[in-house]
Symmetry: C2
């Protein structure tokens, strides 16, 4: 493996998306912790790497810093094409990009918004990044509703297909899995019993060895 | 050009991102209007194409419907690799993916959030998609602040480089351009005079023939 390093934190759901991605591809790369519990993402040394002060960041051999999870996934799938998780044909790549993004915007981002606008420790930091924004209680409530709608929509989606983007496991399943665990753990919004398709899919994807990454 | 069709609407900023992308690549494809002014995105015929009821959607020859702008861009750049707008090497692809996404999440999405949570005609539809969510006035205000921060951050970014993702025009410039015009038109938040780098860059990118697409 070439000399690339993932700056990440064990308890960060966005970091977990990349860790599972690496595990599915069988890649082992250097990892460097950024302790979010101690606010290390705002330390000078990390701000120099990622001025947005968020994890994860993938730093390449030449020092180029790649932030944003889909961009990191893109780099890894392009550089190590074995076991593709973002598709192989143009059509497959587009379909997976669409579903991975929908899992993030409708699922993951809704959970994050509900958490950041409600947790007392994030007062004045309702959005990740370098700027301070106040929490909005009404927004946290609306986001919880979105998470409930996400569970229902995903259940509809999985009525016809084995995995989120179709017949093959992909990055879309990774983002959906992390979003669902994040909602369960941080918001106590688990998958409802009536979402039988989600339960079936969740059983399969969470049993993969990569899920513990 | 193969038989693909873009469902889009002239007044939709997300549609404009794809129209500029096509113009930069010199691609002419079939287009079909979805009249958002008359709520045509919620008509049965369009819901069958895109159940999220948003534009644009790219429909392929075999009927596959690709929603979400970055997924549409991905399909077009993979299928028509001439004049690449998403990069050529893995590193370039990742850097452009990162910046295109940041222009969207920090710029475009902030403008959209400010608009949808404030415009009287969007009461009960504060988020695009099939679900109804109430507007939050406090959120519209916070989003306006985010747009102001976006102008400042983009000015910092453009201090060192000609274009958003580096030395070459890319999809990141398209999304930034559309976000800035959207803020100017819909929120009356133009680029402030002190953001001289943004003004220089804006003059260049808005003078390209594609900007009128």
């Amino acid at each position: 493996m070439s000399n690339i390093t993932l700056y990440q934190w064990k308890g960060s759901p966005n970091s977990r998306r990349v860790r599972i991605f690496l595990a599915e591809k069988g890649l082992e790369i250097a990892q460097h912790p950024v302790n979010l519990g101690e606010g290390e993402q705002r330390a000078d040394w990390y701000t120099a790497i990622n001025p947005r002060r968020v994890v994860p960041t993938l730093v390449l051999e030449d020092g180029t810093a790649i932030g944003e999870v889909p961009a990191i996934m893109r780099y890894l799938d392009e550089t190590y094409p074995e076991t593709p998780l973002l598709g192989t044909t143009p059509k497959e790549k587009a379909v997976i990009a669409m579903w991975e993004r929908r899992m993030e915007l409708e699922g993951f981002a809704a959970v994050m918004e509900a958490v950041r606008n409600a947790v007392p420790g994030l007062k004045g930091r309702a959005l990740a990044g370098p700027h301070g924004y106040e929490q909005i209680a009404e927004l946290a409530e609306r986001s919880r509703q979105r998470v409930t709608d996400f569970h229902a929509d995903l259940n509809d989606r999985l009525a016809g297909d084995v995995f989120v983007a179709g017949e093959r496991f992909s990055a879309a399943d990774i983002t959906a899995l992390v979003a669902i665990d994040f909602a369960t753990n941080a918001l106590k919004l688990g998958v409802p019993d009536e979402a039988a398709n989600v339960k079936r899919w969740y059983g399969a994807v969470s049993a993969r060895p990569s899920a513990s990454a």
